[in-house]
């Protein structure tokens, strides 16, 4: 189903998509998207949505299954509390992406903004994954409780990531390609070299990631990665306990 979304309000657009999904439609191509919020939000079916234009905030919020492809930059709040599915962005993204994400994959070709993956979480096989090809802002993985984040820093910019990386982190793992000044790290993380086992995990996700964006996997994997792990699973257990 192809929809010309020029000037369309998000309620109308998302209702059209939901109604079409309910009647069995499997594939959508949305043209002239310009800021419509909540696209793919709350959908439970394994449909494919291709977006041409800049989607609005909370793209794929509460999404459970679909594959969303954005052929542009995207804005804030992507994959908010997303449960499963895949979001592939052929551009850069804004702030607070992957907030409370609990499953599925979010692959970003370019940069990510502030507060990526705040309070992501995992449960058994439900492990959310975020990969960004460029750099990221402050509060990367703040209060992270689970899941995997991989930051590649392939845009030549420095620093790779802003301040307070993993502040309050108490689960999950962050991999960063290259070095991070300890000054930028939160107090609740430890920084290690990624080992062979880690590189296998990284490689398995990056294979898929590189296929989406046409990057050379060997080149991406040729540089060493660091690994950030939480020092404690309950960093604030004694906070406010007097």
């Amino acid at each position: 189903m192809r929809i010309d979304a020029k000037g369309m309000h998000y309620r109308q657009l998302n209702k059209m998509i939901r109604d079409a999904v309910a009647s069995g439609e499997k594939e959508f191509e949305l043209d002239d998207i310009g800021g419509q919020r909540y696209i793919g939000g709350g959908l439970n079916e394994n449909v494919k949505i291709t977006i041409n234009g800049t989607p609005g905030n909370d793209l794929g919020a509460f999404m459970n299954g679909p594959r969303v492809i954005v052929n542009a930059n995207a804005q804030d709040g992507i994959a908010n509390t997303m449960n499963s599915g895949e979001i592939i962005i052929h551009g850069s993204v804004g702030d607070i992406i992957g907030y409370g994400m609990r499953g599925g994959k979010l692959y970003i070709k370019g940069d990510a903004g502030y507060r990526v993956g705040i309070h992501m979480k995992e449960y058994k096989k439900q492990v959310p994954v975020i990969i960004a090809g460029g750099t990221a802002g402050d509060f990367f993985g703040e209060y992270m409780a689970g899941g995997i984040m991989i930051l590649l820093g392939m845009n030549g910019k420095s620093p790779l990531v802003g301040d307070y990386v993993g502040t309050g982190m108490h689960g999950g793992v962050i991999y960063i390609r290259g070095k991070v000044d300890p000054y930028h790290l939160g107090k609740e993380v430890s920084c290690l070299e990624a080992n062979e086992e880690d590189m296998k995990i990284i490689g398995s996700y990056l294979k898929e990631y590189c296929e989406h964006f046409g990057f050379d996997l060997n080149e991406v994997m040729s540089k060493s990665f660091i690994k950030l792990l939480p020092l404690s699973h309950r960093p604030y257990g004694n906070l406010y306990v007097y």
Binding site: G35, R37, G137
Partner: protein, 373 residues
């Protein structure tokens, strides 16, 4: 967010506006031709309308620079009056304080869902020489603005600069823009605001932009240091009467840049100053400057979340709070500089951009008019 057809108010059911909870924050948008090329108000309306769902209909407004080229040496006062009496008192005051070269109603278009506007009148003013024995021209104008806002009941100055004006009110910004017939004005800088009032009232004087002389500020966020900033400004003769936190930002720029002659970059450094932990790591010279700015201007530090666009005669500046608690995207295309809360609000008027970026927290984006010195 809907772009074109929102411009047609009949397509929105008014009762839904009232009863529906709309999850939102404010919206800001700004555009400037650094070559000073003037464009009409339709593009900025289209941009702010794209972020319709960030506002809730309780405030919208615009600032425009370069709109009165025939009268560019006169102070253009845009006034809001609650009633004929406040207009009469203010006009008596104007006659005494200025040479009123011309006064007229601000042209409006009534039929579009904006209700209960105040009396909107504009004045083109010159300052009699004998008034400037003890004060500079702009200090004199600043004092008259403070005096009207605090002493004349029901009279508020919407803007008071040369060759610029603010057009604001209670309503959605796209409706306010049509109400003021912005398609009839041409400006080299336009800024716009869609309001979602949180802890201060939604009223005509409290809509953004907030202005003084040629400064104008549109703001998304809330200034939790308002009390400290207000008390500091009061020591320099500013009176804060408009019941909205954003007012302090306009006056702080007037104080720091016009009166204290700080370069714009140092002023933004005072408002969103570096953290001490980062100052400790700076090179000696930079460290000295950053330390001095924080020490001297501690009371101008803006706390709380904000993204702002500041307009003035020679440029446009975008600034975020120090930990980026509000969104801002910037972009360039040829001579145009754009800033907005959302990238889509830029793309809707300029689909093909040369450059698009998210400014870092506390780092100003500065647009300058090339013909300015």
């Amino acid at each position: 967010m809907k772009c074109d057809s929102l411009m047609n108010p009949e397509k929105i059911n008014p009762s839904r506006r009232v009863h529906q909870r709309i999850p939102s924050g404010c919206a800001i948008s700004g555009m400037m031709s650094e070559e000073g090329r003037r464009i009409d108000g339709r593009a900025v309306i289209k941009s702010i309308a794209c972020m319709h769902d960030r506002s809730n209909g309780l405030g919208g407004g615009f600032a425009a620079y370069g709109i009165y080229p025939q009268r560019k040496d006169q102070y253009a006062f845009h006034m809001m009056y609650d009633n004929a009496k406040s207009k009469e008192i203010t006009e008596e005051f104007f006659k005494d304080a200025f040479n009123v070269d011309r006064d007229e109603p601000i042209p409006i278009y009534r039929d579009n869902g904006v209700s209960n506007p105040p009396i909107l009148w504009r004045y083109f003013l010159e300052i009699p020489e004998n008034k400037l024995d003890l004060l500079s021209e702009r200090d004199y104008v600043m004092k008259t603005v403070m005096r009207i806002n605090s002493d004349i009941e029901g009279a508020y100055v919407a803007s008071s600069g040369k060759n610029m004006g603010a057009f604001k009110g209670v309503g959605y910004p796209e409706d306010i823009g049509r109400f003021y017939r912005l398609e009839d004005y041409s400006a080299y800088i336009w800024t716009a605001h869609g309001r979602f009032p949180t802890n201060t009232p939604g009223w005509w004087g409290g809509a953004h932009p907030f202005t003084l002389l040629d400064w104008s500020v549109v703001h998304n966020g809330e200034i939790s240091s308002y009390g400290i900033n207000k008390r500091y400004l009061e020591m320099f003769g500013y009176r804060l009467e408009l019941r909205t936190d954003t007012e302090v930002i306009a006056y702080l720029f007037d104080l720091l840049v016009r009166r204290h002659k700080l370069p714009i970059e140092k002023a933004t450094m005072a408002l969103a100053s570096s953290f001490w932990k980062d100052i400790d790591r700076m090179e000696p010279e930079q460290k000295k400057i950053a330390t001095a700015v924080r020490q001297v201007y501690g009371s101008t530090l803006l706390n709380g979340p904000f993204s702002i666009i500041l307009g003035h005669s020679n440029g446009m500046i975008g600034l975020n709070d120090r930990i980026k608690l509000r969104p801002m995207t910037a972009a360039r295309k040829d001579d145009m500089l754009y800033m907005a809360s959302e990238e889509s609000a830029i793309r809707v008027i300029a689909p093909d951009l040369d450059e698009v970026w998210s400014p870092r927290a506390g780092t100003a984006v500065v647009g300058r008019l090339s013909e300015a010195e």
